[in-house]
Subunit: 133 residues, 2 copies
DNA sequence: CGGCATCCCGAGAGATACTG
DNA sequence: CAGTATCTCTCGGGATGCCG
């Protein structure tokens, strides 16, 4: 994310894999999925729409700045919608779009993988760290 | 990754989602998947084992440092194996473990998602950027 | 060939303060 | 309440140089 508020993905170092795979578009998705806050937000919105403040309090440790930046980015990509209800005090609700739902389902698949293999990974680490003591 | 060479995921700011979801283990996976180089390496190893130098030349733009760090990290997590053949000159081959293969399959699923929806995301961005001119 | 050690820089995360 | 603006500082990661 750039300083000026726009969320244009900056200078990918022009990565290119041998077999001419379409890695570029994959990177966009991976940047999304790899983003700490995006995933947490999408995970919460998977259970239904939430207000800004609900998100802020549900996600322990996120700053206002990062929450806003994350939501703007998700909105820009058409993954979440932002609905303003101009009451007083104002109310803003966020929800996943249909496409956003499909991505969050992919993330769920990844969560399942994580749960299935977390023991294995943990053991591997212990074993590895013990060996190279 | 820490300075001293260990790859212990440092100070996660103690993220915790409302409903006591097991986000912690998910983060490990997402850090893996979100990592630019890890994914590229696993993608290449998905086609069979590779030598260090093959990986380095196949992945345009990766530095020695990053390739080594990435491989060590993947090895530590039990996702790739490192096989040294002490010939002269020495030869080192890397390959996915069975569990590594299952993760790379998840990544493939994500790639499919990316291809299916990349047009949508691109359009959303254009539309959004046009609107908020 | 296949690394590790060192120096260095800039993007990006957090904290804080202000606004419609 | 729901943001924007600014300032600071960490640390990911590139470049370079040396070892087994």
């Amino acid at each position: 994310m750039t300083e000026d508020g726009t969320l244009t993905r900056p200078p990918h170092t022009g990565v290119r894999v041998s077999g001419e795979h379409p890695m570029c578009e994959l990177r966009d998705v991976l940047d999304r999925v790899g983003d700490k806050w995006s995933v947490l937000v999408m995970s919460l919105l998977g259970d239904g729409s939430r207000r800004y403040s609900e998100l802020q309090h549900s996600i322990e440790g996120i700053s206002q700045r990062m929450l806003t930046l994350t939501l703007r980015s998700l909105e820009r990509d058409g993954l979440v919608t932002r609905t303003v209800t101009p009451t007083s005090p104002p109310r803003v609700d966020y929800a996943l779009t249909p496409v956003g739902v499909t991505l969050s389902e992919q993330v769920s698949a990844l969560m399942r993988w994580a749960e299935e293999h977390r023991g294995y990974v943990a053991e591997s680490r212990v074993r590895h760290d013990a060996g190279s003591s």
